[in-house]
Structures are given as C-alpha cells and as structure tokens.
C-alpha cells in the first residue's frame, strides 16, 4: 500500500497518522488538556505545529488558541509529547505508546517533583483536590485493610483510616496551587519551568484581560482593583506562555523562562530546544556543566553564536 498521511479532527481530539504498509504512527492531541500555549510549536524540529489564535467574539471572553499539526510534516519523534507540561500529546507506533526520542535518550523528560506526606493529611480534608485547577488530584480514604471509605464523617474510627492522594503526574504543570492550599503543609511541589513574567503597565491596554481569560491556572494572573489592569502572581505561574500568545499588544507582556527541570541527557536536540525555550545563555550553561566541548563548538557554528 502506498503511504497514507491522514488527519482526523473532532471536537476534543486531533489525530495525525502516517500509515505505511508495515508500520503505522499516530500523534494524538487531546484538546481537553491542551491550553494552546504553543511550547510544542516552539521546539518542533519539523515545524509541523501551528498555533492558531481564535478570534474574539465581541463581549465574550477570549478563548485559548488551538494547536494544529501538519500530517505532511510530522515525523513522530515525540519531542512535543516530552515537552508538553499539560501532557496533551501522545505518540504511538503500531498502536503502542512510545516516545522515540525518550527511548533513545535524545530528549529529556520533564521532572515533576510533587511530594505528598500523607501522614500529615487530615481524613476530612479534600482541599488539594478542590484546589487543583486541572482536576488531577483524587483524594480517597481507606480502612487499614484497604477498603475505600465513602462516608468519612460518620466513621468513628477516624484515626485508623488512611488517606491516599492520587495525582495524575503526567498531566500536571506543577502550579503549586495544591501546595499553597494544603492546610497541613503536606504537599511540596517544585515547578518544572522557572522564569520571570512581566506586564508593562504602560503598554497593557485597558479593558483587556485576554491573558487572564486564557490562563489555565487561576490566580497566576489577576485583575487589580487599583488600576483595572492584569497583574501577575508568579507563585502560581507555570510559564506556559499562553498569555503571551493571545496578548494583542507587542511587548506588553514579557515572558522569560530561566530554567527547566529535566532528567539529564546529552543531546543536541535538547540543547536547541532549551535555547529556544529559555535563552542562549541557559543553553551554554547546560553545555558547560556537561562538559560537551565538541558539541558546544558544533552548536556554536550552526547557530552562529559565540560566548
């Protein structure tokens, strides 16, 4: 059979496929998870991803941009899946979930450091579950012999019950809302992306809160009662950058990522991605710490950059 390149789009899903006689590849974008931030687009080596802003309807809230993937260009390397902080993308080869670049250690995995000390948990408390803006946390309570307890309040043996906090880590952008909301200080979250986000008061237009409308993390951006403009609370910001995508005024919102927590790799592809997502300096730092002198040189030549 000659090669087929297909794209199927439904309301909640975009699937691109490359079907060969002896092998089939697919990339699925879960639109219910995707925030349209476009980090994947930034580093796609084939420039197969496009971020499409959705035109605003007068009087309505701004809607997050949509991601489109070209079935002609995608070569199913899995870089987008590896970088997506919301876990919205998934590559399969012959029906099995595989990330080729992870398998070959050509790309790092994001480190999502979320620790829950369940010994501190109050059996009555579901604050973290409620706090999670992406509904990734499920708190369950169990009896010592492992049976799930539904009606905690009516149980007399509260001190014997065990709390279990289940978090869908793969989909978590590490916003720290749960950590902050936890009354017992039982959760510790370290962010994946670190950085700085600034809104220029002068340039930020009045009566616009598009960034706020599309931000996936409540509280990371908020409308100030003082000046009626949007302000940032960096405590919660995950530096996904969707705010910058929708901001209508150039340079009104500046986003600078400074660090990405990831598993260690030696990979030129990652160095390139790192440079695009953070800065040349950050990449150089990474290269120096790994002592990859030869690659540093090669990269220097290719990107025409010198220290």
């Amino acid at each position: 059979m000659p090669m087929k390149l297909l794209k199927t789009e439904t309301e909640n899903q975009l699937v691109v496929e490359r079907i060969l006689h002896a092998r089939r590849y697919s990339l699925t974008l879960d639109r219910t998870l995707c925030t349209g931030c476009g980090i994947c687009k930034e580093i796609c080596p084939r420039e197969a991803i496009e971020v499409k802003t959705v035109p605003k309807v007068e009087g309505d809230k701004a809607r997050p941009p949509t991601i489109d993937v070209s079935e002609e260009k995608c070569h199913y390397c899995g870089i987008c899946e590896s970088i997506c902080p919301f876990g919205a993308l998934k590559v399969t080869v012959d029906g099995e979930h595989v990330i080729p670049v992870i398998k070959s250690e050509s790309f790092p995995q994001l480190i999502r450091e979320i620790e829950v000390d369940i010994t501190k948990c109050d059996v009555d408390c579901v604050d973290c579950e409620e706090a999670c803006p992406l509904n990734l946390i499920t708190v369950t309570v169990q009896t010592p012999d492992g049976k799930e307890v539904k009606d905690v309040k009516s149980r007399p043996d509260k001190e014997k019950l065990k709390v279990n906090v289940e978090i869908k880590k793969d989909l978590c952008p590490c916003c720290r809302l749960c950590e902050v909301k936890c009354p017992e200080g039982a959760i510790r979250v370290r962010k994946i992306f670190h950085g700085i986000i600034r809104i220029d008061r002068e340039k930020c237009p009045e009566d616009c809160q598009d960034c706020l409308d599309v931000c996936p993390i409540p509280g990371a951006l908020y409308l100030s009662e003082e000046d009626g403009k949007v302000h940032v609370n960096e405590l919660f910001c995950v530096y996904c950058g969707v705010c910058k995508v929708v901001c209508p005024v150039e340079e009104a919102l500046e986003l600078q990522r400074t660090h990405i927590r990831h598993t260690p790799v030696r990979s030129g592809a990652w160095n390139k991605a790192l440079e695009k997502l953070t800065s040349t300096e950050e990449m150089a730092k990474e290269l120096r710490t790994k002592g990859s002198a030869k690659k540093l040189e090669s990269v220097k030549k290719r990107v025409a950059w010198s220290e």
């Binding site: 059979m1 000659p2 090669m3 087929k4 490359r18 079907i19 060969l20 006689h21 002896a22 092998r23 080596p45 084939r46 070569h75 199913y76 390397c77 899995g78 870089i79 080729p100 670049v101 398998k103 070959s104 250690e105 050509s106 790309f107 030696r266 990979s267 030129g268 592809a269 990652w270 390139k272 030869k294 690659k295 090669s298 030549k301 290719r302």
Partner: protein
C-alpha cells in the same frame, strides 16, 4: 592550388546502367563545352580500380584542380571518390558528384533523349558548383580518454565495468545514495528465479573495487560543456554529513538514531532511520544523514566515537571533471496510478503496485518476506494481478512497457511456490508477451502451476468497506462476457515512465526526447545507442523500458560505442560546418540570437553584444542557422549560398518554366529520390534536384531566386515531421520558414501549386516518383504562358527582394 580553374569531368557508363539509356558520346562532347572544363573522360566503371586510376592519371597529366564524377548517387560513392582524389594529392572537398544514374538513366529509360538532356544539365549544375568549391581541412580534436556514466543502475554498472575493463578511467555518477538501480529493489528475476541482489550485489562490489572506476554517488549533474572527446562536466556532491573515508558501515549510528522516516527504497512501505543506508547491500556502504528528518541530538556522534565519521558541518562540494564521452543510463520510474480512480490505488488499502509487491515478498523487505495485506496484516488467499496499468493505454502511456507480463508471471509463480494451494492467483491480461529466450517456457510453467489466466481488460475495482476485500469487474474474452473476480489483494502491473529529472538531463546534455518522454536515439535500428550529440550514448531504460538482459546488453554496447572515441588520440570532424562572419553578424549591434535558437546542438552561441560563435566540434552541419540568419552572416562550408545559387542558375538557364527545381535533404528525400531510381520508377524528366544536408538549409532566397529566374515549380522536400529529421529540428524550422514564404508568394500572385513543401522518407521512392508526376501534370495544366505571365508580374518584386544577394 593555382588560381586558374582546371576542371576534370569523368563520366561513368556503369556498364549499361547509364550508357544503355544515355548517349555517352553526346554527353562527353557537351561536358567539353562547359566553362573551365579542361579534361573529359568516360569509363565503363569509374568506381572500379581502372576507373579510379583514370582519375588519378587525369589529375596528374592535366593538372586538374576540380574533379567531377558523373555517375551514381553521391550517397553511394562520394566517399570512394573523395578518397581517390585525396590519394592523388588533392583536397577531397574539391570533388563533386553528378548523379546521372539514379536521377536520370534509371528513372527515364523510355525517353533516352530527354534523359540525355537532363544528364547534361546535371553535369552542368555540378560544374557550376565545382567552380566555387574550396579546399577544406578535416578538423581534428584531441580526446580525453576518460568516460562518465550517468546513473548506476544495472545498465550503467555494465557500461562502467566494460569501459574500466578496457583500461579507461570511468566516473560513475549516481544521484541516489547507492548504485544498483531498480534491479536492487527486486526480489527474484525472471525467467530463472535467481535472487536479484544476489546476482547484482557482486557486480556492485566489483564496481566499487575496480581501480579504474570512481563512484560519485549522492551527486547531481550541474552542467556539461564542450563536445566529443572534450566534455567539461560540473557535478555537485551533496552532503551526507558522513565522511566516506571514515565510515566503516557498521550501523551503530543507525541503531541509536530515534527518528524513522519512510524508506523510498521500500516504496515507502517500511522505514529507515534519519542516519542510515537505503538497503544493507548499498554500494558505497556509507551512511547518510537526512537533514530533513534529523533532530540533531548527536546520539550518532557518540555512537561513532573514535571513528569520527560524522560531520554535521559538511558542505556540498562542486567538482569539475573532464571526460571524452558520456553514457547516459538514468533509468526509469514506476507509474503510481493515483490518477486512475477506477482501480482505487491510494484509496483501497489492498491495492498495490507490482514494485510494492516486490518489496513485500522480498525476505529483506519491510515485512520480512511475508505477503500481508495493509488492512489487517493477514496473508491474502486470493491475489489478482492486473496487467497494462498505464501501459498500452491511449489515455495514459500508449507504449507497451514490455517487462510487466514477465514480472507478473514471476510474482505469480513465487506466490504459488511459497503458499502452494493456500493461495489462488489470477492474472488479468490483454496479451501475454513472453518473447525472449526462456520466457515462453516460463509462461508454460506458470500455467502448469495452476495460475488462472483471464484475458480481458479490468474495468473497475470495488472494495468491501468491512472486509476490505476487492471485487474486480472485468471482461473475459474467451467467454465473451463481463465477469467479476474476487481478490483479497490486487497487484497492479504499472507502466515504466521516464525517470524524474529526465527533462532537466535532456536540457543539460542537449538531448532530445520522444513523444513518450524517453531519450531519443540517433536511429531506432542502426544507431540505437547513439544520441544526436557526438560522444554521448544511451544505455538501459532511459531510452525506453527494457528488461535486465536487454539493459545489460545495452550497457556493454554503449561501452563499446564510447570506446570507439576513447581509444582514439584525435577525433576527426567533417568540415561541413557553419562559419560566422563576425563583421556581418548584427548581434554586435542589436540583440539577435536567432542562430542560437535554431541550433539543436547548442553549437552556436550569440552572447549579447558579441558576434555569434560556432563550437566547431559540436556543429553537425545542417545549415539551419545559415538559412535563417537575417544578415547572411553565416556560411555553411561546402554548401555556401554562392554554390547553391550557382546550381540554381545553371539548372534554370534554359526553359526554366518547364522545370521543377527541387531541394532535397540528404538523409530522407534525396535518398527517397535515389530509391525511385533504383526501383526504376519512371517519372517525367522535369525535375532538377539540388542536394542539401538538411531541408533547414533551404534559404527562402533560394526559392525566390528560382522564381526570379522563371522556374515552373519549386519543391522543398524534407524528412517527415516531427521526429525524422537527422538534425532533430531542421525540418521544423524549414516548415516555419516556408509557411511564411507560401503566404508571401500567394499574395504576390503565384499559383499555390507552384511552390510545394513535401515530406519524403528514404523509403518513399514511390511517393517521390508520384509527386514529380503530379507536379509535372499541374505544370502542364497551368501552361507555359500562364507561368511566364505570372513570372513577369513577380519579377520586379523578386528583383527588389533579392537585391542584397546580388552584390
């Protein structure tokens, strides 16, 4: 050579072939009266040794400096007599032939008086031309004794090996990453069923090991300049990002590479890595990074380690080569019938091409040799082969691809032998063409294995959307009714088409392509390996689809043709070429360049602001540029305007209105007229023919001059349009020119039948005789008075139009 003209005329009896019709005594007497003729001698057989001795003796005794032999056609004995006069110390180009046998005695046997008169005028015309003949030097160019072969398929491999075996240095240029061509993609080969790569692989290795062969793979041809013996070729070696000398071909880089992309070598049915070789037996065994897919993770660099074979900074490299000959063996592509909606290729999962089938059944293929369906991965229980998909189709490719019958038989037999009774095989065909050694026996073997042959043209394929099984609607000619055949897998035997880039290659090499898009050979039978460009030869499927034994033979044949040049120190070129007078060329003042457009060989170039220049070794001497030069700045040696005009004038000296003045091209029409003579077709003795190398040489001034002198009729005869011209396109330009001229003459009041353009092949003697008869009849019907009256009316305009010729 002394300035005084001393012409010797040798008149041949040719036994009774000439003397039996023509009064030789009268002819000899007449010849003596012609200007500057100092010696006339008749012989029984001039071409025999005693006859040639007479010529040599005459030259010595009478100090002759122009020689005319009145005998048979120059197409017969011109080379003989040129050699003869050159042995006597004269330049061979001061010799001229008067064709009084084919053009007179043989075609007018029942009117000996008229035949004699015609013979006299033929000799008179020859003398007129001979008075203006010049000595010409045969040109010699040095030969670089290296060859270039373009395309490393099985034809190119054989050419390279044969030439290298003869001791010549060969550059084998391959566009792809490996040599091998289509043959390396195939599973087994017919009719012996030996494994394709098992027999080709060792040859590929031989090529890589041969000290005289340099493989330049993954390279593009950029330009070719020069001419036979002296081609300058520019080639770009594309970046593999792998240093060939350091790569050991171990494949460790491939193993760590994360990126897979569809492998074209596998017809995109399987995949390869972003750093890989297209197939394991690749020659040269050097890995290539596909930068379109590489994500530059540099895992390969780590894997390669101390070998340091990978270099991401590698740049494409342009190299210049000098070679004496070029063999083109650029192969073919397989037609992918996406545009045939009736067969559903590309739409139905289980409809594949035969080349895809090859990759399926091949043990080293993407499925490990398992014939499985794309829809469900299951082995099909019924397989149908449909023949002539694209081929023999007037709406697509009218030609027969030639090898599809055989490969369908081969694939059917392989299936039957592999799966025995577990598979039912159908072949739906129009005609089964099994016409070479061992092929018919192979067909019988297929029949004995129980393969079902259905004669008919498949009309339509339908797919069951659930099972993805297929139904073929076809006719069965033996039953004489439409039938339906169910199949779980359908294999389409698709046409071979010119390979991608053939047009570009044709442009770079100045080659012509036929209506089918394949390269045109010089002559379909007698020069099947030559191209119109001297020193460039063809081998294999780039000239037309052919199977492996035929391609191999052509490869060796082309090597032999190339060696005829390479083995020489110098290459001789006939001096009948175009010469530009730089003072007359108006390209220095205004942008002209007409000559450059006319030349099918790229031999004449008119750079802006400079006079046109002819590359002598590339000029084939058709004279088309000469005829179309608006300022008469170009001369064709041996066929100068003055020489041809003198022939016209002497032909029309007496009773012009009773004569047909004809310009015949040497290769077709003159040969056709010769054939009329040798076939003894009798026609009226009204025609006076002037030989030109190509009809493209016929200047419109020649026609005007003939009418100015009062010619009854004028005929221009050429090779058939569009492809018969010996000089590729001379007849096309002649037609453009004469179409315009016909209009002008019509407006001036010339009866349309008096100026005729015809196309006569070398085989159409009967057409030529019929034409002369018809024109003579028309001339009679018009009547001498009407012709004279028309001429009188035309005269002043023609005088004016020709005034610049007169100086």
């Amino acid at each position: 050579m002394s300035k005084e003209l001393r012409i010797g005329v040798f008149i041949c009896h040719c036994g009774l072939n000439i003397a039996g019709v023509i009064d030789m005594g009268e002819l000899v007497e007449y010849a003596r009266t012609l200007p500057d003729v100092v010696y006339v001698k008749d012989n029984r057989y001039t071409c025999a040794d005693p006859g040639q001795d007479e010529i040599r003796k005459g030259i010595k005794e009478y100090n002759l400096n122009r020689i005319i032999v009145a005998a048979c056609s120059p197409r017969m004995h011109e080379p003989t007599f040129r050699r003869c006069v050159s042995e006597a110390g004269l330049n061979p180009y001061i010799f001229e032939m008067a064709n009084i046998r084919e053009f007179s005695s043989w075609c007018h046997p029942s009117t000996p008086k008229e035949a004699t008169e015609k013979a006299k005028e033929i000799i008179k015309m020859a003398v007129a031309k001979a008075r203006l003949l010049q000595s010409l030097d045969i040109l010699e160019v040095p030969v670089t004794n290296k060859a270039m072969v373009l395309g490393g398929g099985i034809a190119g491999i054989n050419t390279a090996l044969d030439l290298a075996g003869m001791g010549f240095k060969v550059y084998l240029i391959e566009r792809g990453e490996s040599i091998g061509g289509h043959m390396a993609q195939l599973d087994k080969t017919f009719p012996t069923l030996d494994c394709s790569i098992c027999i080709e692989g060792p040859k590929m290795v031989d090529v890589s090991r041969h000290p005289n062969i340099e493989i330049i793979s993954y390279a593009d041809l950029l330009s070719v300049e020069g001419y036979v013996g002296n081609f300058k070729v520019k080639v770009r070696k594309n970046s593999r990002y792998v240093i060939a000398e350091n790569c050991t071909g171990c494949g460790e880089c491939r193993d760590v590479c994360p990126i897979e992309y569809p492998n074209e070598w596998d017809e995109n049915m399987g995949v390869r890595k972003a750093i890989s070789v297209p197939f394991d037996q690749a020659v040269p065994l050097v890995y290539t990074v596909n930068m379109d897919h590489c994500i530059e993770c540099y895992k390969c660099i780590d894997a390669c380690g101390a070998r340091q074979a990978i270099n991401f900074d590698q740049k494409p490299e342009e190299i210049e080569l000098e070679v004496g000959t070029i063999v083109v063996s650029t192969g073919f592509d397989i037609y992918r019938p996406y545009d045939n909606s009736l067969y559903g290729y590309g739409r139905y999962d289980n409809v594949i091409t035969a080349l895809e089938f090859e990759r399926l059944i091949l043990a080293a293929g993407p499925t490990g040799g398992k014939v499985i369906r794309a829809s469900d991965g299951q082995k099909p229980h019924t397989v149908a082969f449909i023949q002539c998909v694209g081929s023999r189709d007037v709406n697509k490719y009218p030609y027969c691809t030639g090898f599809c019958c055989m490969y369908a038989l081969k694939n059917a037999i392989l299936l039957k032998e592999k799966y025995k009774d577990d598979v039912e095989v159908y072949i739906i065909y129009m005609d089964m063409r099994a016409h070479f050694k061992g092929y018919e026996e192979f067909y019988q073997r297929a029949r004995e294995l129980g393969i079902n042959f259905i004669r008919g043209r498949a009309m339509h394929i339908l797919e069951d959307p659930k099972t993805k099984n297929l139904t073929i609607r076809t006719e069965d000619m033996t039953l004489g009714e439409p039938i339906e055949v169910g199949a779980e897998l359908v294999v389409l035997s698709t046409a071979a088409i010119p390979s991608k880039g053939t047009d570009e290659m044709a442009r770079i090499l100045s080659l012509t392509r036929g209506a089918d898009g394949f390269f045109m050979e010089s002559h379909p039978k007698l020069k099947p390996l030559d191209t119109p460009v001297d020193g460039i030869y063809l081998a294999g499927c780039c000239q037309g689809a052919k199977d492996i034994p035929y391609s191999v033979s052509q490869g060796s044949g082309a090597a032999a043709r190339a060696a005829t040049v390479l083995s020489q120190k110098k290459w001789k070129i006939e001096p009948i070429i175009a010469v530009v007078d730089p003072d007359k060329c108006k390209n220095t003042r205004v942008k002209c360049g007409i000559c450059e457009k006319r030349c099918p060989y790229g031999a004449i170039k008119a750079p802006e602001g400079e006079p046109a220049r002819v590359t002598i070794a590339m000029c084939h001497g058709c004279g088309t540029c000469v005829a179309d030069c608006p300022s008469d700045a170009i001369t064709q040696l041996h066929f100068t305007d003055a020489q041809i005009l003198s022939q016209i004038r002497s032909a029309l000296e007496e009773n012009p209105e009773e004569k047909i003045l004809a310009f015949l091209c040497n290769w077709c029409s003159y040969a056709g007229a010769d054939l009329a003579g040798t076939s003894r077709f009798e026609y009226p003795p009204t025609i006076r023919a002037i030989r030109v190398m190509c009809s493209g040489r016929v200047d419109k001034d020649f026609v005007l001059e003939a009418f100015r002198l009062g010619a009854g009729m004028v005929l221009v005869a050429a090779c058939h349009l569009p492809y018969d011209c010996h000089y590729i396109s001379g007849n096309v330009w002649m037609k453009k020119r004469t179409d315009a001229l016909t209009m002008v003459l019509g407006k001036l009041g010339l009866s349309p039948e008096r100026f005729r353009v015809e196309y006569i092949s070398a085989a159409e003697g009967v057409k030529f005789a019929g034409l002369v008869e018809e024109m003579t009849e028309q001339m009679k019907t018009l009547g001498k008075e009407k012709i004279q009256a028309e001429n009188e009316k035309l005269q002043p305009t023609l005088e004016r139009m020709l005034s610049r010729k007169k100086k």
